[in-house]
Amino acid sequence: MYVAVKGGEQAISRSLELLAEARRGDPSIPELSLDQIREQLRLGVARVMQEGSLYDEELAALAMRQAAGDMLEAIFLLRAYRTTLPRFGYTRPLDTNAMRVRRRVSGTFKDIPGGQVLGPTYDYTQRLLEFGNVASEPSTQSDAPLPDAMPRVLDLLDAEALIERADAGSDPEPIDLTRDPMMFPADRATRLQNLARGDEGFLLGMAYSTQRGYAESHPFAGEIRMGEVDVVICPEELGFAIEIGSITLTECQMINQFHGGNGLAPQFTRGYGLSMGEGERKAMSMALVDRTLRCDELGEPSVAPAQNQEFVLSHSDSVEASGFVQHLKLPHYVDFQAELSLLRTLSKQHARQHAAEDMRAPETKP
């Protein structure tokens, strides 16, 4: 007697139990505390906040623990939670000029006003596994504390009119991509929002492709800076601005050679990247892709994948991509049945045709 594939309900609840057990691991080993994750896995926390579009270290740490370290799952958890949060208003634009810089480097000049500041970076570690405990010696205090705000490297070029002007006033009010759907062609503010939420690995690959001939971009790292920036809101009922705290940001401004075109003079052009927390790889990738996506505006031929905004922006989001790739796990047997019948028909037809051709073959031989 045939028994229908029943019991989805029970199967799911058993699976949840197994998952909880697997996530916790050996119960004799203490569970990770959210403080530990926040303090000791801070770069992971930063990525989850950035791509989860929510600056909350505590929730990001919780999501990472719940996802057993699967970053894309953690990002997804944070995004779904974010949906339920009421929207009180929008902050004033962040002033990264006034960033309290902890790291700031430029590849374009040997020395720059304010200096090259390495800060906490993996760049010059020798990537040797450190088998002992991580040394917890206090870091050496610098004799000369860093200034509160540093001039931007790109402003030096701006003074000489060698780089395109970025007029703060000329930008139209951006849409909120988490409230309004993306429409094509997307303007730059919308593209940047999409890239900011985009998967780091995807953007890294796209950015890399532009360096290997799939779109000419000739980039220089004009300036990368990381530090704290104040967040300011101006509630309607108050009518004046109040500072609600500060967040860590990484900003990258790329400078790209441009020989002129579309009525524009030869000049350096800009690519922009911004990431919550310490997210230098992400910010740099974003800046490269941002510049590459400006091809239409600058009259550059659009041939490479990274120049195709529908291609890049439609496939950058890990929550969308991961969901759709993995939805293939769901039952598709109704459609499969339809395809099965179709294939049987086609294969019968094919066999009949071949048989007919074989019959004819001897006669048609010369």
């Binding site: 075109g261 579309n262 009525g263 524009l264 009259g299």
Partner: protein, 256 residues
Amino acid sequence: MSALLQVRGLSHHYGQRVGCQDVSFDLHPGELLCIVGESGSGKSTLLKTVAAQLTASSGSVRYHQRDDSWLDLNELDEAGRRRLAREEWGFVTQNPRDGLRLNVSAGANVAERLMAKGMRNYGQLRAIAKGWLERVEIDPARVDDAPTSFSGGMQQRLQIARTLVTQPRLVFMDEPTAGLDVSVQARILDLLRRLVNELGLAAVMVTHDLAVARLLAARTMVMQGGRVVETGLTDQILDDPQHPYTQLLVSSVLTT
């Protein structure tokens, strides 16, 4: 007889750079006009601006419709432009791959414009497609083959069939024989001359090849630096060029 197309003071600029500048001409029904000039002379820009694929920076293009009214292309919206391109005009590109759908069969390529016009009988569509393959000298047995399996010359003939199947009143051709072997070129030019005559088409063709103009066009325009430097009957222009640039073009053909 009234003109089919009236071009007046037409210019297209790429930013600061001039594509074509202040071009005027009339095209009459059944007439084939050639635009000749070196590469960079603005002839392709002019063709695309007349065909409303590029927006005119200044000047006008007017098209004489079947109902005897004049249509100003500057005032045409996207919907109207596409309707015109689909139902009244045709455009043959230099590289047939740009004008064909490479992922569907030759038959589907030919039938597409008919289906866009609403024809919904498969048997009829297929019969017409086969008929057109024959007209452009492609074996109708290859109706289900992919264009990618065709030679360059066959692909170009397929593009011509695909364009002419709806019997457009006006066809634009951008160097349709450039990039093909000389013997293949001759066959296509011959075919074009025959079809243009049979169908009574009006056509504007861009070419850098004066011999092509001599073979096909009653009238020719010579372009240099985005401007028309000489225009007239093709034989007159080739046998007795007036402008120094035309003289240079003609003599360079003769010496090679």
